[in-house]
Structures are given as C-alpha cells and as structure tokens.
Symmetry: C2
C-alpha cells in the first residue's frame, strides 16, 4: 500500500477520455517484469506469439474475459488490431455479402455511431433508425419511435458515446426486433459493469478505456455469425479466420494483449464487474449530483436517463469559454488533467474509467467546489 | 555498463524470428519511465494520442526514421495496425481500382510472398513473375528470366523471407521494369542496413523484428501513389486517409509507436544504419562461415548469394530430427533460445536481428562447436 501511495504522489489524476488511465497496480506489475517475463529471461515484448509463454497469456486472457462476462460457448472472443472504428468497415464486410445492396440499421446517438454510418456506407446501405444529431445528441428518442427497416442484415448501436457523454440504458437490446442481429460498439463502457452477452450477436470494443491500451480491439461474436464471412474479407478483420486461428493467423499485438490480461486480473481482484459497477455508480453519482446542485454554474445538458457513467460532459456558465480555460489551467495546478471536452463539442469532459478511484473523484469535486466559490 | 551486464546475466540469448529480441537498453529506458513518461505524471500508455506528449513521440519517430533512411519529401511515413500481412489485401485495395480485373506481378521467393498471392487474389489478378516453390525456395531464378506482365499495376516482392532464409540482393529493384510501381515487403530486414528508398514506390514492414514490437506496421509511400486510393478503401489501410491525418485518423497503437521511437534512437546512438549493417555482416559471416566449415555436420542449403543476414536456416546431418531436437534442448541449457525452424520447414533457424550482439553470435558458435565435437 505504501508503495502505491508513494507512486501516486507523482502520478496525476488523469481524467482523459482515452487512451485513458491504467490502474497503477497494473503498471507496476508490467514494469517489474518488463525485462524478464515470468522468469523466462525475455520481455513479454520479445516472446514468440506461438511460444508457450504467449500461449499462456492469450488463453488466460480469453478465459478470464469469458468468466468475467459469463460468456457461454455459443460465442468466441477475438483479439483484433486496427481500432474499434476499423470495424465500421469490417463488420459490414463480414455480414453483408451483397455489399451496398444489403441494408444495415443504425441507431445514431453521437459521433461514433454517426461515423459508423459514414464509414459503413461504402460497404452496406445505411438506414438510420433514429438520428439524434438534430437534437445535438443531448437525448435519445424513445425506442417505440425507432424505425427499423424490414430487411436489415443487422442493427448497429454505440452503447456509450465517448464524445457526447450519452450512454444507452442496459435494457436497450430488449427494444430491438428480436429476430434482428444485434451489433454493439461498447468501446468506452466495456468492462465498466456486468452485461448480458447473450442479448447480443456481436460486441466490439477498443481496449484503451477500461480494457487495456490502444492497439487491440476485442470482439465477442456469436459463433453462428462466423458462417457469414466470405474468403474475400481482408484478414485484418476476417472474423472466421481469426476465430479458426485463436487470433493467431498473423502476429497479434502481443504486449497489448498482455496488458489486457493484467487488467482483467486486476478486475477479478477487485471482486469482478459487479463490484466495479458499484464504484462506477458511486463516482458518477457524486459528480453529476455536484454538477446538478451548482445552481447552474456547472451544467450537464444531457437527458438524465442517458447520462454516461464513463464520460461526464459539462459546461461552465453555459459555455463561458474564458472561464472554462481558466478551469482547465487551475485544475492542472492541482494535478487534475485531460478534462478538456472533445474539439468537436468544446466545454469540459471528465472520464471516470475503472482506474479512477473514488478518492480521485472527490479530489476533482473538491477542486470544482473551490473553483465555484472563487468564480461564481 | 555494469548495469547492462548484470541484467544480461538473467536475460537469455533470444535468436527468435519475431517478435524478436529488443535491445536491453531500450527495455531499460521503457521500464524506467513506464509510470511517468518524461515527468508528465502519466505512463506513455495513458496519454491522449492527440496530446502534446504523444505528438512529440510520433513526430520525432517519423523524423528520425526519415533521417536514418534519408527519406525525401516525395515520400510519407505511415504507422498502421494489423500486421504487414494485412497489407496483402490492403495494397491491392489501394492500388487496384478495378479489383480482380487489375493485374499485379508477384516475385515468389518464399512463404511470405506466396501468402501475398494467396491473400491478394481476392483483390487483384495475380501474375507470378517467378515462382521458386518448385525449387523448395532454396534459390531465386536470375532476374533476366523473370516474366513481367505488360499491364501490371505494380510488382510486389519480399526482400527477406523470414521462414526460408532468403534475402534479395540490394540491386533487385534495378532489375525491375523502370516504369513499374515497386512494392517491397521488408518486414524482417527493415532497418538492418541502409537502403535507397528512392528506388521504391512503397515499402512496408511489420515492426517486430528490427523496428519495434508487434502491433505496428510501418509504411513508406511515394506521395504520388496516394492519389490512387478511393474512399471505399477501409480506414485501417486507407493510405490517403492515414497520410492526411498523420496516422491519427483514429487512435494508433501509442505504446508500440513509442517503442519504435526508442529503437530508432538506439540505432542513431550506434552510429546509424551503416554501422548497424557492418555488425550484421560480421555476425552473419561468422555463422555462415562456421556452418560451411563444419564438414556437412551443419548445412545451409540456401544459394549463397541469396542467404539472409537476418534468418540463418540450417539442418544438422541433412535433417537428423533427433539430433536437431537434442541441439535445441542442449542450447536451452546454455541460455540459447528460440532456434527451432518454422513448423512448415523444420530444422533450425537462428535470427540475427540488430539487437543480437557479436558476443551473442560467438556464444552460439561456441555452443555449436561443442555440440559438433560431442556428436559428429
């Protein structure tokens, strides 16, 4: 414990949206064995992807992920490269054998689902079931109003919009047509809470929020879907080829998978996803409650039922840019960093990923209180 | 110096083909700053890809690569994900606008160029200019016999066949039709020697041999080629999009790029690629000379002018499997590891990447001498 406290003295409170903070314990473990992985005399960066050391890492990582999310044998877990957004092309290439003649339904609730339609339009016919851009992505029309097409190959939605701070309710898949293949981009809330994988056909997530570092994309896919993949789907996101080869058809990002493995063990040590969720609820409640109680000095304009636990987006005095800049500057002096809103929306954004502790959240709220008192 | 020597006491002599050994100095540097990159209070794994810390890393890495290889402004350097072999689909998708109606010339000299034709056939019409498989990939027909097609969009060859131990002469591009676009897979000899980039239109390399760790693919591309890329090329290998966004159109593998940056600085400290090449020549000469002088106990069957400096492939007593297994076992006792030949060819393979020192090569030769004396 003392060790960690000493180390945290020089580490900042990094509320960045991603690549986000990594638990200090995970970094310490990686540092300790960086030149000598489990006594093999090599760094994990230097071992063959086909050797026994890495085989142990990838199999344990896969198995721990299956345990944590209670993934049953109807599903396979794949480790891909290219980033989650590479799959905006990769998924239709796998699932739409007739290319732009095949329709895909998209639920557009923020920048990432919007980009999925922009990138996807070269590989499928895009149907927007709902498009919240006209509402500035501050809310989501209720599911009974969503207009599904009759012949969609699948429906795509983004469970947590990192840029706009919108998170879909856990019940969302229940509001989708039962016979429709369900594809969900969980990049920024993956592993932040338990989910019922069996409600989905394909879940994908870039790791660099709660599940690792950038350079690895996790895919959970129903095995029956793999039959749709044709041989002309490029290897980089050929789900069938990846599944048949345990993600080892070519050299995977070995170090990145190793870090995901360490993070999964850290989550298990914390008591699993149920315990992680409790902490995430506590952190998000504390911050939103403080914002809502600040007499409008701080304001989060997102519809309450869609507010993200992971990315808290807010403004100061409804967009006082000077004051927001002052806020960022003074926060930095208190070792509170990476809180600037995405360049496309401005304002402030605080990301409360798993590695952020309750203490760190309270440090932030304490700073916000002082800033409010000095600038109201 | 003492520090490195102490550390090398527990580190094995890793002659693996890739992911290969990383210079101990690079690992030490990464380890030292793993929790606090340049005093920013964050790990390099935790910084935003759009923040000033990572911007410094990617720009310095790009600039050092340009300096080391004397890359002029007609070229851009891209950092991609997916592995070099993902580009067996990605390159025709960028360069063949008519797909399988467009012909590509392939020089097939080993497993990797063969796989390029197998993966590429879905995205272009494959013409094998020469196919050395019938000769078991032990030599290469001389260039005057190569049969180029009249209308190829480009020619693809692999400069160093990691599995078969074949390396093409530095003069190879001079034997290609001057008006033909030249694409070269340099995955396993990239940064092992100076090259004249201006003789190529596109060079690509997975980093995990001499240029970094797995999870990053380096592309050097003539800017005029970028005009060929159509918007329906998936982002993951859309050369135009990557170039326009300094490889930051989505989150890149930040840690992996950082390690490449450290390795480039290590090469610069060693005196640059000319000095590196001298060491690589010395190591390869020592090993091949020893093998050739072993009265056939060890034998490398590769045609001498095509023998790879990077991957030395050989057999014991022309394929005495029991003795080869004994060799691997006894070598391990002397901390000599990862010398088993690729499963598709058998035998032994010693990779002499940049991070392998002359001392380590001599340790290996000394072991081989003792093994010869005990088993001849």
């Amino acid at each position: 414990m003392t060790d960690i406290n000493k180390i945290n003295e020089f580490r900042v409170n990094n509320f960045g949206a991603g690549p986000g903070c990594v638990p200090t314990e995970v970094l310490l473990e990686a540092q300790k064995e960086l030149l000598n992985f489990q006594g093999c005399g090599k760094s994990i960066m230097e071992v063959s992807h086909r050797g026994k050391e890495f085989e142990g890492v990838i199999n344990e990582t896969k198995s721990n992920l299956k345990k944590l999310l209670s993934i049953n044998d109807d599903y396979d877990v794949l480790f891909l490269q290219g980033g989650a957004s590479s799959l905006f092309a990769g998924i239709p290439m796998n699932l739409c054998e007739n290319g732009v003649e095949d329709t895909v339904d998209f639920i557009v609730t923020g920048s990432w689902s919007k980009q999925a339609t922009a990138d996807g339009k070269y590989f499928c016919k895009v149907n927007k079931v709902v498009d919240m851009e006209k509402e500035k992505f501050l809310t989501v029309t209720e599911p009974s109003q969503w207009k599904f097409s009759e012949d969609a190959k699948y429906v795509h939605y983004c469970d947590n919009e990192t840029i706009h701070g919108i998170e879909m309710p856990i019940t969302t898949p229940d509001h989708l047509p039962s016979n429709l293949i369900k594809v969900c981009d969980m990049s920024s809330n993956f592993l932040s809470k338990p989910i019922d994988v069996s409600k989905f056909d394909l879940i994908f997530a870039g790791a660099q929020k709660n599940a690792g570092i950038s350079g690895i994309t996790i895919v959970i896919i129903k095995k029956s879907l793999l039959l749709k993949t044709k041989p002309n789907v490029p290897s980089v996101f050929n789900f069938l080829k990846k599944s048949q080869n345990n993600s080892l058809d070519n050299t995977p990002p070995t170090f990145n998978i190793y870090i995901t493995g360490l993070i999964l063990k850290w989550i298990i040590n914390k008591g699993g996803l149920g315990e992680i969720e409790k902490l995430n609820i506590a952190k998000a409640h504390a911050l939103y409650n403080y914002i809502d109680g600040s007499n409008g000095f701080y304001r989060c304009s997102i519809d309450k039922i869609y507010r993200s636990r992971m990315n808290v987006v807010f403004r100061i005095q409804d967009g006082n840019i000077e004051l927001e800049e002052k806020f960022i500057k003074e926060a930095a002096k208190e070792n509170i960093t990476d809180i600037k809103g995405h360049r496309s929306v401005g304002g402030l954004r605080v990301s409360l990923y798993n590695a952020i502790t309750i203490d760190q959240t309270l440090i932030l709220i304490n700073f916000m209180t002082n800033f409010y008192n000095n600038n109201k």
